[in-house]
């Protein structure tokens, strides 16, 4: 039988160390909503979402209350909208109508984000894909809760550099069109995007998925940090790694329980648990703090990549056994604006975009929630996207760029997004040009999978 010290430990994780279930995300296929008329497509989408996900928020809250663990976000991800709208959308404004429908459905359901205003263009763009991409700035300006993502490359296909070039311009335009450039916080450019990611802004319900599915993202950087602080100071790597694994196991078990319970109550199959350590701007809920506890003065110091690689790997090793199905992004997130420790490291001059790029080689996702000067050129943004996509393509991992060229801001300024999105110092970007590289047409071929060096 459970003993009192175990009960106290669990409740301390929840009450003092910010253990929570970050998101229950219901993936919904909208393939059967496609129609030749924009209006009919929108009606079908609204009807299906509000029918399938109508109890999502209530179920999440009920589970949270009964088990005494907060279920922070309830969200929905959909089939990439470029596919759903390909039969009816003849101009970017048609896609904006779909975005508005998604926003309306999100408000009706009471969810805070809906993901999947997306195009998968790893090898090339269909006319619909390009229309959707061109509609993103307007869609982000006209909606509040819609998240957009574009997958520009993969290990099997290489990188679609035409899409990369276009996305540089789209990111810039989105920054200009939305207040505080917040549209860019809901827009992510990916390489090797997973079909079952429950985390925004990159969540979409891939075409490999069934009609509806429940995916859960857990979290708990605060828990890992607390355990390391209390039991691992000065200990060997063996002890350090075992402790992280053990803690990740416990965190993930909570996610597994919530996922199975949500799946049962909603009558929707359980998909995957995403093992990511996702920080929030709350003090004590920081991945940067874990890196410091492992032994760095600040993230960005030499040794940061090694510490992050260790952390990421142990989280996976511990989490994999705790869940029957693992998927999504599964790793440590290192967003800047959403992690107070990362913000401090940038302000202290310890952390640069270049070091963050190196860190993305060994951790989940990539350059995330990074504010750069509004004057940064579209080609430079495309260059940053291409670099990240290349890391993902060659290393067979998911990488992403969520960068915010904040309109009217320069290095040293701060931009406030509010809520889970946090605030970010505007970081310097290399001033050397990559214009001629980005101007080239076509794609970067898929890499060879032998001769690994």
């Amino acid at each position: 039988m459970i003993n009192i010290s175990e009960v106290i430990e669990t409740n301390r994780m929840i009450l003092e160390e910010n253990l929570d279930v970050r998101t229950i995300t219901m993936g919904v296929s909208l393939l059967d909503c496609a129609d030749a008329s924009v209006k009919k497509t929108c009606d079908n989408i609204y009807g299906k979402l509000t029918r399938l996900a109508k109890d999502l928020v209530k179920t999440g809250n009920d589970i949270g209350r009964e088990f005494g663990v907060p279920v922070v976000n309830k969200r929905v991800s959909i089939t990439p909208a470029a596919i759903v709208g390909s039969a009816c959308c003849k101009k970017p404004a048609d896609f904006v109508k779909i975005a508005k429908t998604l926003d309306r459905a999100a408000k009706t359901l009471g969810i805070n984000f809906i993901g999947g205003y997306s195009a998968i263009v790893s090898k090339g763009m269909t006319p619909a894909d390009e229309l959707l991409i061109r509609s993103i700035p307007e869609a982000m300006a006209a909606t509040e809760r819609v998240c957009s993502s574009v997958n520009v490359g993969s290990t099997k296909t290489g990188i679609d550099m035409d899409a990369v070039r276009l996305m540089g311009e789209i990111v810039k335009e989105t920054a200009k069109k939305t207040k505080n450039s917040i549209g860019c916080a809901k827009l992510v450019v990916l390489c090797n995007a997973p079909d079952d990611n429950p985390f925004m802004a990159g969540a979409f319900h891939g075409v490999s998925e069934s009609d509806a599915v429940v995916n859960v993202g857990v979290s708990g950087p605060g828990v890992v940090n607390h355990v390391l602080k209390n039991t691992c100071r000065g200990e060997s790597f063996e002890t350090l790694c075992e402790t992280i694994k053990r803690t990740a196991f416990k965190i993930t078990r909570v996610g597994q329980l919530v996922a199975q319970e949500a799946s049962r109550r909603l009558g929707v199959p359980f998909g995957i648990i995403d093992l990511s350590l996702a920080p929030t701007p709350a003090v004590g809920d920081s991945v940067a703090d874990i890196l410091k506890e492992i032994g760095l003065e600040q993230p960005g110091a030499p040794g940061t990549t090694a510490a992050l690689a260790l952390l990421n790997d142990q989280v996976k090793k511990g989490g994999v056994m705790a869940s029957s199905y693992v998927g999504g992004l599964s790793g440590a997130f290192i967003p800047v604006s959403e992690d107070q420790g990362m913000i401090d490291a940038v302000n202290a001059g310890a952390l640069t975009i270049e070091k963050l790029e190196a860190m993305t080689c060994v951790c989940s996702v990539g350059l995330d929630m990074i504010a750069v000067p509004g004057a940064t050129s579209a080609a430079t943004i495309s260059g940053i996207i291409a670099d990240e996509a290349a890391i993902g393509m060659v290393n067979q991992k998911t990488t992403a760029v969520r960068i915010i060229p904040v309109a009217g801001k320069k290095v040293g300024d701060t931009i406030e997004f509010g809520g889970l999105l946090g605030h970010a110092p505007v970081m310097p970007v290399s001033n050397f040009s990559c214009d001629r590289l980005i101007a080239r047409k076509g794609r970067i071929p898929a890499p060879i999978h032998s001769f690994k060096n």
């Binding site: 459970i2 106290i8 430990e9 669990t10 009964e66 088990f67 416990k250 909570v254």
Partner: protein
């Protein structure tokens, strides 16, 4: 069996167990186990209860107990037991 776990945390005072168990008895909830300890000067009590015979909804039980706790200046939580079992047992 429909097991849940009640935890009481706060400054030790007369009648904590009496008040809690009186409420449980009134609502047909059986106590399976009680244990207590003091952590950093705080009184910690845990009760394992069986809610399968009560007609009161679980959420209301948790809310009632939290209210009883508040009156005594204590934090009382009632959670379904699976969260602890899943986390601490392979």
């Amino acid at each position: 069996m429909n097991k849940a776990i009640i935890t009481v945390v706060g400054k030790d005072t007369v009648g904590i167990i009496a008040k809690t168990s009186a409420y449980l008895a009134k609502n047909g909830i059986n106590i399976l186990d009680i244990s207590q300890t003091v952590v950093q000067d705080y009184f910690n009590m845990m009760m394992i209860i069986d809610c399968s015979k009560t007609r009161r909804h679980f959420e209301n039980i948790a809310a009632d107990l939290a209210k009883i706790g508040l009156e005594m200046g204590l934090e009382v939580r009632c959670q379904k037991s699976e969260i602890f079992e899943k986390m601490h047992r392979v």
